[in-house]
Symmetry: C2
C-alpha cells in the first residue's frame, strides 16, 4: 500500500524519465509516447522549477482544481508537442470562464504524454500538482473519467492550438464535450492543449484515483532497477504487488508480434495485434486496441479486459510500447494489471467497460480470470 497516507511524493528533474516510463506502462498503450512529453516537462522544470507535488487530501475542500492535458492523435501530438504558451492559455482562459483561478493542477489521465503535460502546466503556472488522476490509466475519450462517472461536469472546457486559437465549450454532458472538443481538435490539426473538469478540492478528493504519479514513478524505478539485472518484469510485478490498486498483475504472454492491423477511425488508432510464442509453440495471443489496449485473449479466451490494464512492454528492457509504436517482429511481453476499484463499479463500467468500446462481453476482473492472483 504505497499510495495513501504517506508524505507527498518528491519528484525531481532526475525522476522524469522513470516517471514517464511508469506512466507509459499505466497508459496501457495509450496516452502518447512519453519521449516528447518528457522533454517538454524537463524544459519547463528547468525554467520554472519543479512544481510542488501535493496529495489530494492536502487540498482544501473549496480549492479550485483544473485538469491539463493534450487532446488529439498521439502520432501528431508527439510530432508537434506543445509550446507551453498553449497550455498556459488553456488554464488562464478556463479561469476567465469559471471566474476563478486554479489553486492546483490535476492530471486527467496517466499515460506517457499526458502525465508530463500537467507537470508543464503546473511548473509554468507556479501551481501545485496533485498526485492523482481521473482513471489511473489512459483512455481515448474525455467522458471516460471517474469525475464524469460521479457527476463532475467536464465543461467548461478550453482547447488551445499552437497558434493560440481558442475554443471554449459548454456542453450538456461529458460525451457532448468530447464530441465538440474532438471536432475542434481535428480542425486544430489533431493537437491541442485542453483544460477541463474544473472542480473543487472536495470533488477531486471524492472521485480521483490518488497517488498515481507516485506509483508511476515507482513503476519506472522498478523497471529501471530490474533492467539493470536483466529481470525488468519480475521487478515490475514485485513492485505492483506493493501498491493498492495495481497489486493483481500478471505476465500474460511472452512472444513476438506476428501480425498487426492498425487503422485510423474517427481520429482514433484502432486495430489489433497477434503475438506468437518465440519457441514456436502453438498458443497465440491477440490484443485489441482503440488508442489504448482493450482486451487480451489467449487462443480466443479473454485473459484481461478493460478497464483493467493490458500493457505491451519490450521483453528485454521492459520499456512500455504505445499502440502507435507497435511493429511487426517486436519481441514483447503482455502484462495484465488490475484497475483501481473506483474504475470497476457498475456506473464506471457503463462509461468505460468493454461494451463502451463495442466489445460484447462483460468485464471480469483479472484476479477472477486468474484465481491464483487473489
Amino acid at each position: 500500500m504505497s499510495n495513501r497516507n504517506e508524505t507527498p511524493a518528491r519528484i525531481g528533474t532526475e525522476d522524469l524519465e522513470a516517471l514517464a516510463m511508469g506512466a507509459a506502462f499505466l497508459g496501457a498503450g495509450g496516452g502518447g509516447d512519453p519521449y516528447i512529453g518528457r522533454l517538454l516537462a524537463k524544459h519547463a522544470v528547468e525554467t520554472c522549477g519543479m512544481p510542488e507535488i501535493v496529495r489530494p487530501e492536502d487540498l482544501p475542500d473549496d480549492a479550485q482544481v483544473f485538469t491539463s492535458a493534450m487532446i488529439g492523435a498521439p502520432t501528431v501530438l508527439i510530432e508537434k508537442g506543445a509550446s507551453g504558451e498553449d497550455i498556459d492559455r488553456s488554464l488562464t482562459r478556463l479561469a476567465e470562464v469559471t471566474g476563478r483561478k486554479p489553486d492546483a493542477i490535476s492530471p486527467i489521465e496517466i499515460g506517457g504524454f499526458n502525465s508530463m503535460i500537467p507537470i508543464v502546466a503546473a511548473a509554468r503556472a507556479r501551481l501545485p500538482l496533485v498526485d492523482c488522476d481521473g482513471m489511473g490509466r489512459a483512455f481515448p475519450e474525455l467522458q471516460m473519467v471517474t469525475f464524469n462517472v460521479h457527476g463532475v461536469a467536464a465543461s467548461p472546457a478550453v482547447l488551445v492550438d499552437e497558434h493560440l486559437e481558442t475554443v471554449v465549450i459548454d456542453a450538456l454532458d461529458a460525451k457532448r464535450t468530447e464530441d465538440l472538443a474532438r471536432a475542434s481538435a481535428i480542425v486544430m490539426g489533431l493537437s491541442a492543449a485542453i483544460s477541463c473538469y474544473p472542480m473543487s478540492g472536495r470533488q477531486l478528493k471524492a472521485h480521483c484515483v490518488p497517488g498515481t504519479l507516485r506509483i508511476a514513478l515507482g513503476i519506472g524505478r522498478a523497471l529501471e532497477e530490474g533492467r539493470s539485472r536483466g529481470a525488468p518484469v519480475e521487478s515490475l510485478l514485485a513492485y505492483l504487488k506493493t501498491t493498492e490498486y495495481y497489486r493483481y498483475s500478471k505476465e500474460l504472454f511472452d512472444g513476438k508480434i506476428t501480425d498487426i492491423e492498425r487503422r485510423t477511425e474517427r481520429g482514433f488508432n484502432v486495430g489489433h495485434l497477434r503475438i506468437a510464442r518465440l519457441n514456436g509453440g502453438a498458443e497465440e495471443m491477440t490484443v485489441e486496441f482503440q488508442n489504448e489496449n482493450l482486451v487480451a485473449r489467449l487462443d480466443g479466451r479473454t485473459v484481461a479486459i478493460v478497464p483493467d490494464l493490458v500493457s505491451v512492454i519490450d521483453r528485454e528492457t521492459g520499456v512500455p510500447i504505445t499502440t502507435e509504436a507497435l511493429k511487426y517482429g517486436q519481441r514483447v511481453k503482455i502484462i495484465g494489471t488490475s484497475a483501481a476499484p473506483v474504475m470497476r463499479s457498475e456506473k464506471a463500467l457503463a462509461t468505460f467497460g468493454p461494451r463502451a468500446f463495442g466489445i460484447d462481453e462483460d468485464f471480469r476482473a483479472i484476479e477472477t480470470l486468474h484465481p491464483e492472483l487473489g
Copy 2:
C-alpha cells in the same frame, strides 16, 4: 437611389412577408427558405415588439455591434428553426467574452432565413436593428463578408445549439473561425445560432452594405405588386433600377428546369441545374450553385457570375426559389443583378469572387457582360 440619406426604414409586422421574400431574392438561392424564419420573426415581434430600425450612420462610432445569424445546413435550419433562447444566449455570451453588451444588432447577410434571425435577436434583446449587412446577398461561409475583407475580426464568435450548448471561438482569422464554427455546427446537428464579428459603429459604417433591409422590403413589395397584375418580373426590374447597388438587373432566361444535380459536400448543398425554353427552343441555361447560385451560363457563355447575384424565381408568382427547393419541371425565370460596389473590389473578389468557389474564371460585372444595361 433609395438606400442612403433617407429616414430610417419603417418595418412593421405586416411587412415581414414582403421583407422575407425580397431578402430571399437577394439571397440568390441561399440563406435558407424564408418561411420558418418569418414565423420566428413574427412571433418575436408580437411578443417583444418590432425592433427600432436604425441606419448605420445613426450609430455612434463607439457603439458595439454584434451580428446575429443561424449557421448550418439550410435544409436542417428550416426544419429545426430556433427557440429564441439560443439566439439570446449567443448575444449574452459574446457580450461576456468581449466584456461589453451590444448597442445594436446587424444582419451578417441578406437571405430568407438570415434576414429574419436578426429581427428575432433585436426584438428579444430590445436592441435596435441596423439596416445593413455584410454582403448585400447571402454566402455560404463566415469569411465571405465585407467586414472580413476590411480586417474586422470574425472572432470571438459564439455558437449556441438548441440545448443551449455553447462554443466560443477565438481564431487567427475569419477562415479559421469558419472552419472551427463549421466543425462545431456539424456536431450541433447542422443548426446553431451564431453571433460573431463584434465591431464598433465606426467599423460597421465603414464596411457594411447599407440599406439592404429597406431594399429587401422594396423588392418584396415590388414582387407583390407586380404579381397582382401578372407582371412580377417587370415590377421587380423597375424597382431594382431605382436602387443604388442593384440597378443593373436583367431577366437572363425564362424556361423550365430539365435537370438538377444536387449533392451534399462538406456540409454544403452543391450542384447545378439546366433550364430549357418552354417553347422548345434550342438555347439552354445552366446555373451552378454552392448553397447560393454562383454562375449562370447561356449555351456555355457566362451571363452572370458571383459576387453578382443569380436568382431563380417562379415565372408566374415571382417567388424566389432557394437552391434546396429547386425541383425538376419548375417553370422559372433567372434574374442576374449587380452586387454592391464594395463586393466587387479586387480584395473582395479574392475572398468571394469566382475562384474562391473553384470557378476558373475572372469576375465580369453584369453590366459589362450586357452592355445594354450600362
